[in-house]
């Protein structure tokens, strides 16, 4: 998926920047001499290597290639580097190298994309080697200065000691000399056994909290540059629509307004002294849209297209063993159900934004991004300049959740800046613009059919998914003979990321791809979210139909999947499964594998006779293989329930006349504090693999709660969000 860039003979660099399935390739003129330069911004001391700068005052600067959007990756990656470096954690700070520096230095920092819960798990090996290599070089420099063998020196918290001669020095004192030491071959380095970790693996406080409690943290929306103007934008609400014409006369007469411009073929922006002036004036621009044929599409049309796919003859096979259709044909006892899952918007708290300066020679962009390299590609494309003449300054994100791996807002900001050369332009979307122009969670329906044998064992299972493919919408070149393998997240055969855990003698999981006109995107948890609802609610249905306990039924099916089973058992035990619940409370279970980790949840809910649901408590288990910062994993697990329950209860975007109907939190509610359950988080790393933690738990939130709602009411909710369900009982 991700390709390390190598400079070609002609002096051109081809780089790919990837976020999940999203790959962009672009060419960058690459002067050979530039390879020698490129210390990251902000460093005042020479780097020991690409990952580590140590200043004379002993400050340790760890370079972080991935983006921090709240998920704690910045701290976790710094812990991994510091662990191998054996530095003083109290002196660790971080900085982002820029995407252009990464290109110029032959992608020394590897992949900058931050999605798919990959930030730590996919870079853990090379960042640890980076820390270890820096340590070796620092020790070598000290030993050479003393004329002693490096092997006789020891390090503790950045202090190098040669016991035999009773000498010691510090990293800060030898850093400059260390920068001249020949670096060790990374593959030759033996990394520490995680059981010996002293900095990694511990619940250390985050490095980026302090500025977030006093208003000092600068987000993209807060950026100020000298001479900067502000822009507000309106893109055609109908996807695929265009600007037919616009009249800016009234807007131009408004205070502070500098310019009204068309951006691309589908948007109009107002540039003014302040954003509020720009936003107000934008409302006075008379825009005539050419909605095109999409302007006639309704939600019911999309639903009908998906429903047709549930029984369509042709479908892509994602997982198969035995002969499920044949076995189901013979089955005497069948269970069948149809589920659906809607479009959803990421709704990051900070709306999309980017700040750009364009001149004929250079384009600079400041933006919160989950993928600095893809942002650079967007800036290069929009500016018409080679990438080496562009620069992306990554800014802390006010939420990402997958939305900020897509850079339409960078295209727009540069598109405006290009019409006002030399003037910094900050483009900020209104919440309404953000809601209308998401990259939406894909819409799907699912029909599940199970066949039981005489003993009530699951003999055959057919899961037919019908609906949207993100890859087809974003990067169709990555389809495999038309198949999008990511559709089967959590339901996949084998692999080490999304493995289906249940052993079913006759199994068929297939996908009828039906792509509506709504642009899809990676929405935190992605396809694992609906797949977990489909399989984990349906397994509950089948267990009940077989007259079996949902836990025991799952246990029998997980006989070949010990890690799935372990997290399920953990939540069953801690969640009190099989023991009496408080009066009126009912429990539900769910377990799945995703993003390389194993997760499970046991939810405890009550439902009033009027149908009001209260989620009291969720017990959650995560086996991510290795746990770099357990308290941050717990934070991700808690946050995942907020994101997942908000989606399960309330969130859907619906299409009317080709555009989304929901424009703000009044019609697209988020979970709030009064609805937040208590969360008990069990972090149970079993070692030997690296899984992600930012996303997988979201997937078990909805099915655990829906199964508990069934236990409470006898009613199955199969169409999400559950605000539509009548749960009176």
């Amino acid at each position: 998926m991700t390709h390390l860039a190598q400079p070609s003979r002609r002096g051109f660099l081809k780089a790919s920047a990837a976020l999940g399935a999203f790959t962009l390739a672009f060419h960058v003129p690459f002067p050979e001499e530039a390879a020698a330069q490129g210390a990251a911004q902000g460093a005042t001391a020479p780097e020991v290597n690409a990952w580590v700068v140590i200043k004379p005052d002993e400050t340790v600067v760890v370079r972080i290639a991935r983006s921090e959007m709240g998920q704690g990756t910045l701290t976790g990656l710094a812990q991994l580097v510091a662990e191998e470096l054996d530095c003083d954690w109290a002196r660790v700070t971080t900085e982002y190298p820029t995407p252009t520096q990464n290109l110029v230095r032959n992608r020394v920092w590897g992949d900058m994309s931050t999605g798919g819960s990959r930030g730590i798990r996919e870079s853990n090996d090379y960042v640890r080697r980076g820390g270890a290599a820096a340590k070796l070089m620092l020790v070598q420099a000290a030993a050479a200065g003393w004329g002693v063998p490096a092997a006789e020196c020891t390090v503790d918290k950045g202090v190098i000691t040669h016991a035999r001669s009773s000498r010691s020095t510090s990293y800060g004192k030898v850093a400059e000399a260390a920068a001249r030491v020949t670096p060790p071959v990374p593959a030759s380095i033996t990394l520490k056994d995680p059981k010996d970790w002293k900095i990694a693996g511990r619940p250390l406080p985050r490095l980026d909290t302090r500025d977030k409690v006093n208003g000092a943290q600068v987000y993209g929306a807060d950026l100020k540059l000298p001479g900067m103007l502000n822009a507000a934008i309106r893109d055609c609400p109908v996807f695929g629509g265009k600007v037919a014409s616009f009249n800016a006369t009234a807007a131009l007469a408004k205070p502070g307004v500098k310019k009204v411009v068309q951006v691309g073929d589908s948007a109009v922006a107002v540039v003014a002294e302040t954003w509020w002036q720009a936003k107000t004036a934008l409302e006075a621009v008379e825009i005539t849209w050419d909605n095109g044929p999409n302007g006639r599409i309704q939600q019911a049309d999309i639903n009908a297209t998906l429903a047709e796919g549930l029984t369509a003859r042709e479908a892509f096979v994602g997982n198969k063993n035995g002969e499920a259709l044949e076995a189901l044909g013979k089955s005497t006892r069948k269970v069948e159900a149809t589920y659906s899952f809607p479009f959803q918007n990421h709704a990051t708290m900070e709306p999309m934004n980017a700040t750009a300066i364009w001149t004929a020679e250079k384009c600079e962009v400041w933006c919160p991004t989950q993928n600095g390299e893809a942002a650079l590609a967007a800036a290069a494309q929009a500016s018409g300049l080679p990438a080496r003449q562009c620069e992306i300054h990554k800014i802390h994100l006010g939420g990402g959740f997958g939305r900020r791996g897509w850079h339409d807002f960078v295209h727009q900001a540069v598109g405006i800046a290009k019409q006002m050369p030399g003037t910094p332009i900050k483009l900020l979307w209104s919440r309404e613009e953000d809601m209308l122009h998401g990259r939406f969670h894909p819409i799907t329906q699912c029909r599940l059919t199970a066949g039981l044998d005489a003993q009530g064992n699951l003999e055959a299972l057919h899961i037919r998914i019908s609906g949207q493919s993100i890859v087809a919408g974003i990067a169709p070149q990555m389809l495999q003979n038309g198949l999008d393998s990511r559709v089967f997240q959590g339901l996949a055969q084998g692999g080490n990321e999304f493995t289906f855990g249940y052993a079913v003698p006759h199994l068929l999981i297939d996908h009828a791809m039906r792509n509506p006109h709504v642009p899809p995107g990676f929405w935190r948890g992605v396809n694992l979210n609906q797949n977990a609802v489909y399989i984990e609610c349906f397994i509950d249905e089948v267990a009940r139909a077989a007259g079996k306990d949902p836990l025991e039924f799952r246990r029998a099916l997980l006989r070949g999947a010990p890690k799935h089973l372990a997290v399920l058992n953990a939540v069953a035990e801690k969640g009190g499964w099989g023991t009496p619940a408080p009066a009126g409370h009912h429990r539900g279970l769910a377990a799945i594998m995703g993003y390389g980790s194993y997760v499970a949840a046991c939810a405890e809910v009550s439902v009033t006779s009027a149908g009001e649901v209260k989620v009291h408590k969720i017990t959650a288990a995560t086996d991510p293989g290795h746990a770099v910062n357990p308290q941050q994993i717990a934070a991700q697990v808690e946050g995942s329930f907020v994101y997942g329950l908000g989606a399960a209860f309330y969130q859907e975007c619906t299409v009317k006349d080709g555009r989304m109907e929901q424009e703000n939190f009044d019609t697209y509610p988020a979970l709030r504090m009064d609805e937040m359950p208590a969360v008990e988080s069990i972090v149970m790393p079993s070692g030997g693999f690296w899984g992600g933690v930012g996303e997988p738990t979201i997937a078990v939130a909805a099915p655990a709660v829906l199964n508990a709602i069934f236990a409470a009411t006898g009613k199955r909710v199969r169409q999400l969000p559950l605000k539509h369900a009548d749960l009176k009982h």
Partner: protein, 154 residues
């Protein structure tokens, strides 16, 4: 021309009287700790205090505020991040992305000022700010820790 008393200082601002207080604070006064999230008083990211009471500044025109009213923003909650809530937030690592946390802290500090020892239920009922990262349980823990610290201090 409006006169605004923000964090103990009176500012003269020249602005359309319909401009929301949020944008005056962010754009005329240059204090960007107070955030824009929704513009319709739904999310609370723009929460400030007016005479100690929490107000969603995105939906309050600047003309509705008088010079006599004292506005406090996150930058004025304490001079050195020493407010018990700020200390609790750091101790418990409450923020994730952090974008909503200015508003959370302003809503929480207004709550503690009027109710020094709120119950869980009172916290849940009073703090209606949206956090998409999902920090709610740590926010509740932070408010209780700050309340305890205040109680110990007397």
């Amino acid at each position: 021309m409006a006169k605004l008393n923000v964090n103990g200082r009176v500012h003269d601002v020249q602005v359309d009287p319909e401009t929301p207080l949020l944008w005056v604070i962010r754009e005329q006064l240059g204090m960007t700790g107070t955030k824009y999230g929704c513009g319709i008083a739904q999310c609370g990211a723009c929460t400030v205090h007016i005479d100690g009471a929490p107000v969603r500044a995105c939906s309050m025109p600047v003309s509705a505020v008088t010079e006599a009213q004292k506005i406090t923003t996150i930058e004025g909650l304490s001079p050195d991040s020493s407010h018990p809530l700020q200390q609790a937030w750091v101790a418990l690592d409450v923020p994730q992305c952090g974008y909503c946390q200015s508003g959370m802290l302003m809503a929480a500090s207004a709550l503690l000022a009027s109710n020094p020892k709120p119950s869980d239920a009172e916290i849940r009922e009073t703090i209606t700010n949206i956090c998409r990262c999902g920090t709610y349980n740590r926010v509740i823990a932070g408010i209780k820790q700050a309340a305890d610290a205040n109680a110990r201090r007397g």
